[in-house]
């Protein structure tokens, strides 16, 4: 699975993208796995109220299932327009 980060999440983690092997069943479980990877991940994902998620390029929530999913992205609330 590809995990993508944007804006300040990308800066805190230090990478725009990483490829991981995971058996996480939901986004929430994936967040726990990622946060255990190190200080940078833990800091970036510490306040989930400030983090939005997209699963295969569709906005989703923390309970979204990950079976068959190819791409998960984490980013701050959007500021378009």
């Amino acid at each position: 699975m590809d995990v993508l980060y944007f804006a300040w999440l990308r800066e805190r983690i230090g990478e725009p993208k990483e490829r991981i092997e995971t058996s996480a069943g939901t986004v929430r479980e994936l967040v726990s796995e990622l946060a255990a990877r190190g200080d940078r991940h833990a800091a970036a994902l510490s306040d989930l109220s400030a983090v939005r998620v997209a699963v295969d390029q569709e906005l989703a929530d923390l309970d979204a299932p990950l079976q068959g999913v190819r791409e998960v992205a984490f980013f701050p609330p959007m500021t378009g327009g």
Binding site: F6, A54, L59, P76, M78, T79, G80, G81
Partner: protein, 145 residues
């Protein structure tokens, strides 16, 4: 329908050439890079390639059906933009102006909070602060429920 995500400037006059044939009303909105801090030299826009186009298309299709629009266009830029430069535009075409105005406002409200763009204000020293999402933008969305 036209959806574009690009770094290059756009030509609004060219966009409107032939737009919304048969319509009684065309509304356009242009967003311009504004300096809120008094010391901003540029705005940097990051986006999520792939998802951005999908999200904009979905928003435009929803607007088109809700107001029976004859045409809709969204152009949104990314990359580094100077203060005063056009950053994005929407255009809507409908039989009557009320529909065209409402659809344009709907598009803007959704773009603000549901299209995967992130803005950073670059100061004279080159350092940048990410623009935080406003609660008022989220509130603006709820009126369309």
């Amino acid at each position: 329908m036209r959806i574009e995500v690009q770094s290059a400037p756009f030509d609004l006059a060219a966009l409107l050439n032939g737009f919304g044939a048969g319509a009684g009303a065309v509304v356009t909105f242009s967003g311009i890079v504004r300096d809120d801090t008094g010391q901003m030299v540029a705005l940097e826009l990051e986006h999520y390639p792939g998802m951005t186009e999908k999200a904009l298309t979905e928003i435009a299709v929803r607007a088109r059906h809700r107001w029976n629009l004859l045409d809709v266009a969204v152009i949104h830029r990314h990359g580094r933009l100077s203060v005063g430069e056009p950053i994005m535009c929407v255009a809507t075409a409908a039989r009557h102006r009320a529909e065209a105005f409402a659809a344009a406002e709907y598009l803007m409200d959704y773009l603000k909070s549901r299209a995967p763009f992130w803005k950073r204000e670059i100061g004279p020293d080159g350092a940048g602060a990410w623009v935080e999402a406003k609660g008022s933008d989220e509130d603006a969305l709820s009126r369309w429920d």
